[in-house]
Amino acid sequence: MEKNLSSRTLAELASGLKAGEFSSADIVRSALDAVKTRDTEVKAFLGVNPELALREAEAADARRAKGELRSEWDGIPVGIKDNIAVKGEKLSCASKLLAPVVSPYDAMAIVNLRKFGFIPFGRLNMDEFAMGSSCENSAFQKTANPRDVSRVPGGSSGGSAAAVAAGLVPAALGSDTGGSIRQPAAFCGVVGMKPTYGRVSRYGLVAFASSLDQIGPLANSVEDAAALLAATAGADKMDCTCLPNGCDDYVAFAREGAKTPDLKGLKVGLPKEYFGSGCSPDVAKVLQDTIEKIKSLGATPVEVTLPHTKYAVAVYYIVATAEASANLARFDGIRYGDRKEGADLIDGYFKSRGAGFGSEVKRRILLGTYVLSSGYYDAYYLRAQKVRTLIRKDFTDAFKACDVMLAPVTPTVAFHFGEKSDPLQMYLSDIYTIALNLSGCCGLSLPAGTGEGGMPVGVQLMAPELGEARLFKTAAALETALRK
């Protein structure tokens, strides 16, 4: 059976468009059909704008006819997480408080994406304000894992991962603050990548934890993820934390890795703290098989150490919630959002925020407020920032002994709805992804096998800051070898 256009890789779509086998409008219609049919069960999209998407597709087809292509991917739709601003589209962050809000402008990642001709398509579900690991914290709907709809897709970019895995869109953008791209990618069996902190502008990304947030791609292949990063990354005067460094040709590195899967001379670090008893046997087995695969490609595994790993969850939930409590203070129902009337101005803040935020968001705002409050600041927030320094140093030291690191993404395959009702247990499931955000380095989740219940298992490759080219080349080589 021929694959739906919306479920193909960007590379397949680019070559089909070039050969005139189908048009951009055909791809968008295929995505719209998939949203109307398959997505009634998966529920990845909060909404789509069919007229707008088709209009943009027709404009792309017209550019192609005139030979004025913006890139080889001109006219391909990309799903967008609901915390990234797209002009004229809703920007709710899956929160009741922001339900009425429409973006007045495009995020810089979207501006860049359009320069390549990609079409921003629809609003993808997420945990409210990107706080969660299962998408169960969305105020509007629960997204299901397309591989088994009784299980969660992961989070917080669960809609993005599920949409790509279900073939609703060929690729999507998500955001990763503590694993929110890599973990759902692993749960749904797609490629998900967190760039180096500052590689993609955060202008127009609704802030959760500003020192950790990064926009990144979810896609069907490493090459596709590289293409989306190439189309979104780069310096931006609107975000002073955005890195001024030029971008490598990510797609060329990914293609080279896929064409010649040879990792001779590459030292692959295995952080021993990630290989303990915390991993379930099925995930550990896929990881061991992947190590054998890496060896067969000529790479040398070396044991490395990240000694402060056990503190990463605690540091993260102090730093991220402290930043969130400050960032989310702006949502008071005055200038935008769902305003609730109170007895006076201040009471209105309490009512708007009390009614608008879901319980996980409240929990994190309260925790962040607590660790920043007088008398606790030094013991929690300041101490966490110091331990963060030690965690960053762990990564710097480890990368002196290896070129990339290989680790699990998650301790288990995707869990069932309602399985993790205790918030702390949910936080602890982020153990393998959050240290990377604290370090600022880049990482990628690659589907590498299946585990319990036939569910996908991802492996995580990590590279130093601005090591994206090496990361894509290594991941593409491994991806090619795993497909054989």
């Binding site: 009425p100 809000v101 007045p104 402008y105 902190y197 500052g198 020192s211 950790l212 005067k237 002073c240 934390t241 402060h308 056990k310 503190y311 939930y317 102090i318 409590s325 203070a329 129902g333 005055i334 200038r335 935008y336 959002g337 769902d338 109170g342 006076d344 101005l345 201040i346 803040y349 309490f350 925020r353 009390g354 319980s359 409240k362 929990r363 705002i365 309260l366 925790l367 407020t369 607590y370 660790v371 409050s373 013991a379 929690y380 300041l382 101490r383 966490a384 920032q385 110091k386 331990v387 963060r388 320094t389 030690l390 960053r392 205790d422 918030p423 702390l424 936080y427 955000n437 604290l438």
Partner: protein
């Protein structure tokens, strides 16, 4: 700090969050569990360690001091819950006094 009780009402006051009583009780219990867990940071020796506030190497960024265009007023006011003739955001009364408007 181990085993410390959290005054959830006070923290919610700081965060300007209205919490129904049953939600406050549950959140307090969950927060105490989480704080108990993050207390493990107390065992790390951080003597002489500088705090890290950011993952990026922060440096000052300058831009041209030139006149630019901004977004139109109607675009920016489109999301306001209430406006005054589409020109201003109408906010709840800030200072106590007679009536509003």
């Amino acid at each position: 700090m181990a085993g410390e009780k959290i005054d959830i009402g006070y923290v919610a006051q700081l965060a300007r969050l209205e919490l129904p009583p049953e939600q406050a009780a549950q959140l307090q219990c969950e927060l105490e569990n989480i704080v108990h867990y993050i207390d493990e940071l107390a065992e790390v020796d951080v003597t002489g360690v500088e705090p890290t506030a950011h993952a990026a190497r922060l440096f000052n960024v300058w831009r041209e001091d030139g006149v630019g265009t901004s977004l139109p007023r109607e675009t920016m006011l489109a999301n306001a819950p209430e406006t005054v003739d589409g020109e201003l955001i109408r906010v709840p009364q800030v200072l106590p006094g007679e009536g509003s408007n």
